[in-house]
Symmetry: C2
C-alpha cells in the first residue's frame, strides 16, 4: 500500500514562530507515519510543483525550525478564486495531490490563508477526493476571530514591550528630552500597540497609547503629549499605524496628502513621522519618530517561549485533528484561565474566520482613549512569558538552514 | 582623617553598556575605600548639586547596572568653556569637590566628554587642588582615536548584525521581494554600518553596504541594487545615515531639500527613506526603508558579553589608574591579538582624542565601495562574542532601579 502523504505550506507575512508551527506539523506527521512534503512559497509551490521532500532534511535543522524567524519555506499572497466560478486552479492542486497521494493538507497563515483552506477543503470533498484540510493560524496582528490569540502575537508583543522599555530608559536620560513617537504595526486592530503597555510593568514604558479602535483626535493628542512632556520633560507615545480620525480617514493619509503635490503621490515616512513632525511644528518640542518595522515580526532572538511552544502545539494538533478526520477547520486557542495560565487547543470552523477581524474589545481600552486597562494586561501578560535559549555562533543566533531538495515529478 | 571621595558622571548619548562602566567604577572605588558619589546628568549635576550617595543604594542594583541600557544617572551635552577665558564654572566645580573631598573624578562619555576631562584635569592641577581626573570612553559610533575600539560599539554591532540577519530572512520569503534599505547610525564614521556585514557570517545579511568613508554615487547605487534584485528578487542594503556625495553633501540633505518648498524646511524621514523612494521611482521595484534608530544603542537584551565585560573593566581601570596617580588620561583598549582575542587596558592622553574622529580605514572597505573586507570581519567579530544572561520578570528583562538619594549640602 502506498503511504499517505501530508502537504504543508506557509502563507502571508512571516512571524517569529510560524516555523515553530512547521516543526510541530512535521514532527506529528512523522509520528503518524506519513510522507511529509512542504510546498515552497505557499500554495504557489503546488502550482509550480516546487515541493520539498522533508525526509531529505537533516533532523537537527527541523528541530531548529522552532525559534527560527521568517517563513523558512517561503510565502505567497495568492488568493484562490471561488471554485464555483473558476475551478481550473483547484484541478491543478488535485493533480499534484494525487501524484503524491496527499491526504492531509495543512495551511499556515492569516485570514486569507484560512479562506484558502476553507475553499480547498470544500472542493476536495465535493470532488470525492479524500483529503483532510486544516488551518494553522499565524499573525502577529492577533486579529483572527474564534481564537483567544494567534501564534506570532506573543513574540511580537514581547519584542514591542521590551523595546518600549529600553526606549523609555534611553529617552529619559536628558534633563530636557523629547516626545518620542513609536509606530507599531496593526492596521485594523490595536493588539500590538496595546502590548507596548506591558513595558510599564517593569517601571518604564509608553505614557500614551493610541489604538485604531478609537477615533484619533489630532488636537487632543498634541494636548496630551504636551501635558506629559511639561511634567516629565520626556514623553513616550505608542501609536498604531492604523489610527484613523472620526471620519475614518487614516492619519497616515494626512501625511500622504501633504506630500502629494511635491512628490507625485509617494509617501515618505509613516504616521509616527507625521505625528512627530506636527508636534514639533505646533509646540516647538523636540521629537523623534521610531518605526518598529519588520523587527517586531522577525526578532526571533527575543521570542516568547510560550508563543513558540503554542505555535509548535498548534502545528501538532492540526495534524492530529486531520488524521482523526477533521477537515475545513482551524486550530484555535481556548483560554481556560489566566492565572495560572492554561489554554486548550480546539478546532474552529474556517468559514467565519476569514470574514472579519477581531478588534481590541472595549474593556481592554482605557476611558481616556490613550491607555489600556488592567484587564488587557492580564490577558496579554501570559503570552510573553519565557525565553527561548538559542544556539549562538559568531556572536549571533543560529537559525535553521534547510536543503529544500525538491520532489521530482 | 576625612575619607577621600570619588565622583563619577555620565555624558553624551547613552549606550547599552555605559552602566557597566559605572558598575566597574563604583566597585573599584569601593574596593579602594573611597566615598563614592555620582553626579546626575553629567557635569550639570555638579553645578546643580544633584549628587547621589552610592552608599545608600542597594548593592544588588549596583550589580545589575552591568547590562542595563541608557545612562542610569542621566546625561548632558554641556561643554565647558576654555578656563583661561572663563573660569567661573571651574570654580563652581572646585567648590563642590572641596565640600565632598573629591580627589578622583571619572567622566564617562564620547569626544566632548573627553575634552571636558582634559580641561578639568588641567584646571585642578593649575589651581593646586589634588584631584586625579580620568576619562572612560563610550560611544556606539566607535570613532574615538587612540583606542582599538570603544565600549558600546560591540553591543550595537551585535544588535545590528543580528537584526540584519533576521531582516534578511524575513525579506527573502516572497518569490518577488523588495529592495530593503536599512539605515544605520554613524554620521562621520561607518563602523556601525560595516558591522551589518557580520550577519553574512551566518548565511544571510546585507547585499550592499555603504559607509560615509566613500563618496556616494546615487546612480551607481541604484544600478547595484537593480543588479542584485534582478538576480535574487530581493536585496538588502545597509547605509550609514552619514553618507555623502563627492561634493561632501549629505544624501539626507537631498531629501530635506526636496521637501523644503512644500514643508517649510521640516525633514520627514531620513536617508534610508529617501533612497528607498528614489529606487522605486527610477526602477519601479518595491522598496522598504528601515531605520534601526535608538534600538541600536539601547537593545541591552542583546548585549555583547565581551562589550559588557570590557566596559566594566574600563571603569575599574580608570579608578585604579587615578588612584595610582594618573590624571588627564583616557582608558583605551590596545589589541594584543585577534585570534585568540586579547586586549590590554592602557592610558591614552586626552588632548588628542577630542580633536578628530577615527574613520573606518581603507583596508576594511571593499574595492567596490559597497562592501567590507575580511580584515574588517576579523577586527569586529571578537567584539560581538558572548551573550549576557539577564533576569526576566513579567516576560521582560529586569534592569537596574536606583534610589538616587541625593547628598545634602
Amino acid at each position: 500500500m502506498i503511504k499517505k502523504g501530508l502537504l504543508y505550506a506557509q502563507s502571508g507575512g512571516p512571524t517569529s514562530v510560524i516555523n515553530s508551527s512547521a516543526c510541530g506539523v512535521i514532527r506529528q506527521a512523522q509520528q503518524e507515519g506519513l510522507d511529509v512534503y512542504v510546498a515552497l512559497n505557499g500554495i504557489d509551490g503546488i502550482f509550480n510543483e516546487t515541493i520539498v521532500d522533508i525526509s531529505k532534511e537533516d533532523d537537527e535543522q527541523i528541530t531548529k525550525l522552532c525559534g527560527t524567524p521568517a517563513s523558512a519555506f517561503g510565502s505567497c499572497r495568492t488568493k484562490l478564486p471561488d471554485y464555483k466560478v473558476d475551478d481550473s486552479k483547484y484541478f491543478e492542486l488535485l493533480k499534484v495531490f494525487k501524484k503524491l497521494n496527499i491526504r492531509y493538507f495543512i495551511y499556515n497563515g492569516g485570514n486569507d490563508s484560512m479562506n484558502t483552506c476553507a475553499k480547498v477543503a470544500e472542493f476536495m470533498k465535493n470532488n470525492d477526493y479524500e483529503c483532510y484540510v486544516m488551518g494553522v493560524p499565524k499573525t502577529i496582528d492577533n486579529d483572527l476571530l474564534l481564537t483567544d490569540h494567534c501564534p506570532g502575537f506573543g513574540s511580537a508583543a514581547k519584542y514591542i514591550a521590551t523595546t518600549c522599555y529600553e526606549i523609555a530608559l534611553d529617552t529619559a536620560v536628558y534633563a530636557k528630552g523629547r516626545v518620542t513617537v513609536v509606530e507599531v504595526m496593526g492596521r485594523d486592530a490595536g493588539w500590538l500597540t496595546a502590548s507596548s503597555a506591558l513595558a510599564n510593568e517593569n517601571g518604564a514604558g509608553p505614557d500614551l497609547i493610541y489604538l485604531p479602535e478609537r477615533a484619533f483626535d489630532l488636537d487632543k493628542f498634541i494636548e496630551r503629549c504636551k501635558e506629559v512632556y511639561e511634567k516629565k520633560k520626556t514623553c513616550l507615545v505608542a501609536v498604531s499605524e492604523g489610527i484613523r480620525d472620526k471620519d475614518g480617514v487614516y492619519i497616515a493619509e494626512y501625511a500622504k496628502s501633504s506630500e502629494k503635490d511635491a512628490f507625485n503621490n509617494v509617501q515618505l515616512g509613516g504616521v509616527g513621522t507625521y505625528l512627530a513632525d506636527v508636534i514639533t511644528k505646533r509646540t516647538g518640542i523636540k521629537t523623534r519618530a521610531i518605526e518598529l518595522s519588520l523587527m517586531q515580526r522577525c526578532a526571533a532572538h527575543l521570542c516568547s517561549k510560550t508563543d513558540v511552544e503554542e505555535a509548535f502545539e498548534a502545528g501538532r494538533y492540526a495534524v492530529k485533528s486531520a488524521v482523526a478526520g477533521e477537515s475545513g477547520k482551524m486550530i484555535s486557542f481556548k483560554r481556560v484561565s489566566s492565572a495560572p495560565y492554561k489554554i486548550e487547543y480546539v478546532c474552529a470552523p474556517l468559514d467565519d474566520i476569514a470574514k472579519f477581524t477581531q478588534s481590541v474589545p472595549d474593556e481592554f481600552i482605557g476611558v481616556d482613549g490613550a491607555s489600556v486597562t488592567n484587564a488587557f494586561i492580564e490577558y496579554a501578560k501570559p503570552l510573553i512569558q519565557g525565553e527561548v535559549s538559542l544556539e549562538y555562533k559568531n556572536g549571533m543566533p543560529v537559525y535553521a538552514k534547510l536543503k529544500k531538495e525538491l520532489v521530482k515529478f
